[in-house]
Amino acid sequence: MSATRPITSADTVGWRIDDIGPDEMILSMGPQHPSTHGVLRIELITDGELVRDARPHIGYLHRCFEKHCENVDYPGVIPYTDRLDYVASMGNSLGYCLAVEKLLAIEPSPYVQTIRVIMAELQRIASHCVAIGTYGMDLGAFTPFLHLLRDREKILDVFEWTCGARLLYNYNWVGGVSHDVPEGFVKACREIVSEFDQITYPELVNLLIGNKIFISRTAGVGVVSRELAISYDLTGPNLRGSGVKYDLRKDEPYSGYENYTFEVPVGEGQYGPKGSCFDRNWVRVVEMKESARIVSQALDRLEKLDKTDVREKVPKRVKPAKGEVFARSEAARGNLGYYVVADGTAVNPYRVKVKSPCFTAMSAFHHVARGVMIADIIALIGSFDVVLGEIDR
């Protein structure tokens, strides 16, 4: 089996003909492939339908986010963070703001924190809607995708109503948020949440997740063991799918997450080994429900809190002292870490490094992809729920 031959840094382009065995074939999947969730390229060595080895190539969407950050001021970075994980922008900017606030030692008011929590959780629902919907589509079920997008649209409507944009919000600011919630926001959110709980969630479970074909396509496929998950720094639903009960919202609460009661779902391995594609998706599905729970609690809290100026703590000029901070937050796709270094002299960050959850998830891909079938490769990419904007940055 020549596929296991160590790859030297000399062959940079890809596998060659002498890397594969007599019955094997190199299949290049992507960057223009319907199911690679953007522009991911995967080189596969296949023996018929079986995948012997896989090698992901990333970078097709690289925009050098980190270089951008060094050239704009601290608030100017936020629009760029929105474009990292463009499916869940609220979570990204929240993570960045938390990091810079830690650097500046600002604590936003509880009112602002509650708004942030509502936004982040609504965004998580919207993001998981896309994740599960596209996952269904990867497996050939088109209908759940559009049912879920219908719900996502409602959430985006609320976002647009609040901050003026549907996808790239620039809503979370250092020390606050850009706009206060509009009149009638609480009622609209409650409607969304109740509709999600009563209609979308049961329908999703019956139509897609409970379907025997879906189960047999996902259960037992792409099993990520607990050790592999931790070693490769899989986070968020990918980690919890492997049975590690770790959620930053619970274990390192930020933005007042300690005030809400919610469960942290973990993969239970109902239909096969723990850590399979099914478990990862199951965790996402249950997480949507828990997020809806958090949203309704946060809405209660928001009604009780006194309205404060949401830009009260926003500094006129963000210029932190020399220092560095590594802050993590639980974005929709996992732990999003920002490592921000300030040199104390400039209004630009000296260095911003993003630890994106998709990047690390994708780095474990080749371990899981060995020995599965081509159709499972699609299922696997979808179950890691990667967004190439965040991998390539």
Binding site: M25, L27, H33, P34, S35, G48, E49, G136, M137, D138, L139, G140, A141, F142, T143, F145, L146, H147, R150, L207, L208, N211, I213, F214, S216, R217, M373, I374, A375, D376, I378
Partner: protein, 397 residues
């Protein structure tokens, strides 16, 4: 063809002046032309219906732009496809690349030769009609493999290999459950199979040996679904895995031919299912067989076939697709044992004198069950409508 011949003889002096071979040839050509028209225009309708259904199931509207409610959308698409450039990638095997879609269409088209639309409206009543359809149906496999090979594309090759494996595997449960029907009818001729089911809904083979034949029906229907490459068995095209499978490299008119073949095959398969299990051109009530003295058998057959095509579409927009090994699992380990079991059991029942004509309760199940199914569907539809109305009321309030 018989009907056409009879029409000819209505013309005064035809029989005297035109030799028999000429009128038979003319009738054959005319029949072929009719079928060709039917299969070319049919997909226009199916595609529209499918897109509308998909839209409605997904809370969308489907095509709405071209014509009222988008009625002319598929016609516009067809025109576009016909006038589009057929692109030949540099490395394709050109002769095979061109022949493949033709073969696929021919395979789909030839099934029409034996489909009985009424006692007289039939291309020809072959003695082995049932097997003919099955045999011809797998001719398209050759076309698919050719297309996949000639495209010189790894994805197309995968699609071709998958489709070969799939169609060959699903022939077997299809034929096995077909044998059940053949045993009951005592003939392979489609005319005689339909004739054995005449006299009302309770006489359909679906309700014979209740509930054994229902299972046979499901097996056969599933197998035809797989032979038409429809979801959940659409792995040869599997657009999320293999881009477009065997027709990845096709464009323009050649792509349209694959499309045509797929929908034609769907119709032929559904018509076969209705001939074998749902009485073919026999009406559910004998009274409905003729309207003003005219035999409306073709209408019944087409209606039944379309109902089954609707189920095909319904399934497609509901289910995910199976993986290739699970597909084989379903064929060989699920459908085939069931079909074999049914052959043994029903064969045994047929030889026993007490049950040679079916179970005593057979006539009593067809009507209530059909009514129950239709009633359930209507009720849920009504509930959904009323829910809609309530939503509108609340929105207004």
């Amino acid at each position: 063809m018989d009907a056409l011949l009879r029409l000819f003889s209505l013309i005064p002096g035809w029989d005297q002046n035109v030799p028999a071979w000429a009128s038979i040839s003319l009738a054959g050509l005319l029949a072929a032309g009719l079928c060709l028209g039917f299969i070319s225009l049919g997909p226009v309708g199916y595609v529209y219906v499918e897109r509308k259904l998909a839209g409605f199931m997904q809370d969308r509207l489907g095509p709405m732009r071209v014509g009222p409610w988008g009625l002319l959308q598929t016609i516009a698409d067809t025109i576009k496809l016909l006038f589009k450039e057929a692109i030949f990638p540099a490395a394709v095997n050109r002769p095979l690349f061109v022949v493949a879609p033709c073969l696929v269409v021919i395979g789909a088209f030839m099934g029409f030769a034996v489909l009985p639309f009424s006692p007289t409206w039939q291309g020809t009543d072959l003695d082995v009609g049932a097997f003919y359809v099955i045999a011809i149906g797998s001719l398209s496999t050759v076309g698919l493999i050719m297309a996949g090979w000639a495209s010189n594309n790894k994805y197309a090759l995968f699609g071709a290999m998958r489709s070969a494996a799939q169609i060959v595997s699903y022939e077997i449960p299809a034929v096995m459950s077909l044998i059940v029907v053949v045993m009951i009818a005592g003939s392979l001729s489609l005319q005689q199979i339909v004739a054995a089911q005449a006299g009302g809904l309770h006489n359909w083979f679906l309700w014979k040996f209740f509930p054994l034949n229902v299972i046979a029906f499901l097996v056969f229907f599933t197998a035809t679904l797989a032979e038409c490459n429809r979801t959940p068995f659409d792995i040869p095209e599997a657009e999320s895995e293999l881009v477009a499978g065997f027709h990845t490299e096709y464009s323009g008119f050649f792509f349209a031919m694959f499309f045509l073949a797929e929908y034609t095959e769907m119709f032929v398969a559904s018509a076969m299912v209705s001939v074998l299990f749902l009485g073919g051109f026999a009406a559910p009530l004998p009274v409905l067989q003729t309207v003003a003295g005219f035999d409306i058998g073709p209408v019944w057959l087409i209606a039944k076939a379309w109902a089954l095509v609707f189920v095909h579409m319904w399934l497609r927009w509901t289910l995910p697709r199976l993986r290739v090994d699970q597909l084989m699992h379903v064929a060989w380990k699920v459908l085939l044992p069931i079909a074999l079991f049914l052959i043994v059991v029903i064969g045994g029942l047929l030889t026993a004198p007490a049950t040679a004509g079916g179970f005593p309760w057979d006539p009593w199940f067809g009507w209530p069950l059909t009514a129950l199914l239709c009633g359930y569907l209507m009720l849920t539809a009504l509930r959904a409508w009323r829910w809609h109305a309530r939503q509108v009321r609340e929105a207004v309030a």
